[in-house]
């Protein structure tokens, strides 16, 4: 879709300025559904000035990712007024090739959530399939708008524990979470450094991999970034799939998701070799390990939000440093952010650190070994992306915080291991909410993930 669109622009069959006007007009109308934290009113001026192979490409960007000159506040009030003075490295790559940026998309504050509700009321994205329901989170606006728009579109999201695949599944779009470090984190506002992974959300498999190829690569500004210049190509006659037995379970999945996944597996089995694999410990302990590690990292990362160097400020006179720092954080952080800050601080405190933080870091090693074992017999691991379809905002109100963390049960294992994964929408009847199937591959095996996705998409 994107490639054909760019070709039409190149051949003069589409006028990029008219296209930008149409997209901006539609985005303004979409704003009532909460997809954007900021809309670029200069889009048409921007598109006139650009040149390059991406001339005509309009991209929206999750609020946590820096776009020069646009407010970038990770869905948080504490970063009000913060406008980055440069682009994130991945944004710079797209801009240099001629892409323009439609605006910033809504999200849970700093990425803390699976339903896009932990932010300002006007930034809570409504699912375009049913506005009473969530888009998922935390890249809620990115997936919601990509599903909403009738135009060719790419949104850049970011996943820590499932924030690309969850909203992609709930909204019926394609989400690619790359290998950890494959795309630079420079200019991505941290949630948890060892887990954050920016990646594309689009309407088709071809679109997300087209963009991934442009944004991947080692970046000297991010020492944890790396992508092999020649990824290992294993020549295989046929890909071998494995499904996770613990996630193909009617006790874990909603009835609807269970039967949809069963149907999809049958179709894949009709053409490919599919075997049952076990990720028992990942499913049993993944949410705990992820919770402890991500909240611990969060609690140190958010220490910098003190109301001093950027974002919200208060008059500093007549206040001690601690009072000023505590007051502004208490006033501006959302409840879920406070909860995670408290839990993360607790897990690192003297007396608890060994039992929680260090034990979880050791457990992470063991959980990865379980994946390594599974990948000895299969190339691609399959499971439903989410245990249920998008819940309504009313249903979410009845869930405890712990129950909400389980929305990412099917996604935290791959995120903890830093493995690339792809959520593809399953075909559904018109009156049904979308649901995604998740494909996971080995580190740096995005090419294999692409081939697997293309192979099964026609079958589903």
């Amino acid at each position: 879709m994107i490639k054909q669109h760019l070709e039409q622009i190149k051949q003069g069959e589409k006028n990029p300025v008219e296209f930008a006007e149409q997209v901006l007009q539609e985005a303004k109308e979409a704003q009532q559904h909460g997809y954007f934290t900021y809309l670029n009113q200069n889009l048409t001026k921007d598109i006139k000035k650009t040149q390059g192979e991406l001339k005509g490409l309009i991209v929206s960007v999750k609020d946590a990712i820096w776009v020069k000159g646009m407010p970038s506040q990770a869905g948080s009030r504490i970063l009000d007024n913060f406008i980055p003075f440069e682009d994130a490295s991945l944004i710079k790559k797209l801009r240099q090739k001629g892409a323009v940026f439609l605006g910033k998309t809504s999200q849970d504050e700093f990425g803390y959530g699976s339903f896009g509700i932990n932010t300002r009321k006007e930034w809570i994205a409504k699912n375009p399939k049913n506005y009473e329901k969530t888009c998922g989170g935390s890249s809620s606006g990115s997936a919601g708008y990509t599903a909403y728009t009738k135009y060719p579109h790419i949104s850049i999201g970011e996943s820590t524990g499932g924030s690309i695949a969850c909203p992609s599944s709930f909204c019926g779009v394609v989400g690619l979470t790359p290998t950890y470090g494959a795309v630079s984190r420079y200019g991505v506002i941290d949630l948890a450094n060892s887990l954050d992974k920016p990646g594309p959300i689009g309407k088709t498999i071809d679109d997300v991999f087209f963009i991934f190829d442009l944004i991947k690569g080692t970046d000297e500004k991010d020492s944890t970034s790396y992508y092999p210049s020649k990824p290992k190509q294993e020549s295989k006659n046929e890909l071998k799939f494995g499904f996770v037995s613990e996630l193909f379970n009617p006790d874990v999945l909603s009835k609807e998701v269970y039967s949809e996944f069963k149907r999809a597996l049958k179709k894949i089995e009709s053409k490919f070799q599919v075997e049952e694999i076990s990720l028992k410990e990942n499913i049993e302990y993944g949410v705990s390990v992820y919770g402890i590690l991500s909240m611990s990292e969060t609690s140190t990362n958010l220490a910098k939000y003190s109301g001093l160097r950027y974002g919200k400020e208060m008059p500093p006179e007549n206040k001690t440093y601690n009072k000023y720092f505590s007051e502004i954080r208490t006033k501006e952080f959302e409840e879920e952010t406070k909860r995670r800050l408290l839990l993360g601080t607790f897990a690192r405190m003297s007396g608890y650190r060994d039992a929680f933080y260090l034990r979880a870091a050791r457990a992470r090693t063991k959980l990865f070994k379980e994946y390594s074992k599974a990948f000895k017999s299969v190339d691609i691991i399959l499971n439903p992306a989410t245990p249920y379809t998008a819940p309504s905002f009313e249903e979410i109100k009845t869930m405890s915080p712990l129950k909400q963390y389980f929305a990412d049960l099917c996604l935290v294992p791959a995120n903890l291991a830093g493995l690339p994964h792809l959520s593809i929408p399953l075909p559904r009847e018109e009156d049904k909410m979308p649901q995604g199937i998740l494909l996971t591959a080995k580190h740096y095996s995005e090419q294999e993930l692409y081939l697997a996705g293309k192979n099964i998409e026609g079958l589903l």
Partner: protein
Amino acid sequence: MEIDKKIIEIVAKNARLELNNSEKEKFSQDFKEIISYFSKLENMQLTDEKPSFHLPKLSPKYREDIPSQPLGRKALLLIKNKEDGYYKGPGV
């Protein structure tokens, strides 16, 4: 594990958050449920596993130590609490 308002107060002080009584009560209840679930990690058999702080394991390649253009005072441009090119903050 005993989780009470006292622990929440200590944690909140370390996290630089000021909680009112109803928040202390609410977060105590949430802590009980969440920490109780996280504590199940005690049942996981661990032997010689070393902690993983990043996956995949990477050997960071740093750029050469050559001076380059620093950000300078660009970061100061957006804040209001400044004086003579310095941040203006509360007393320590």
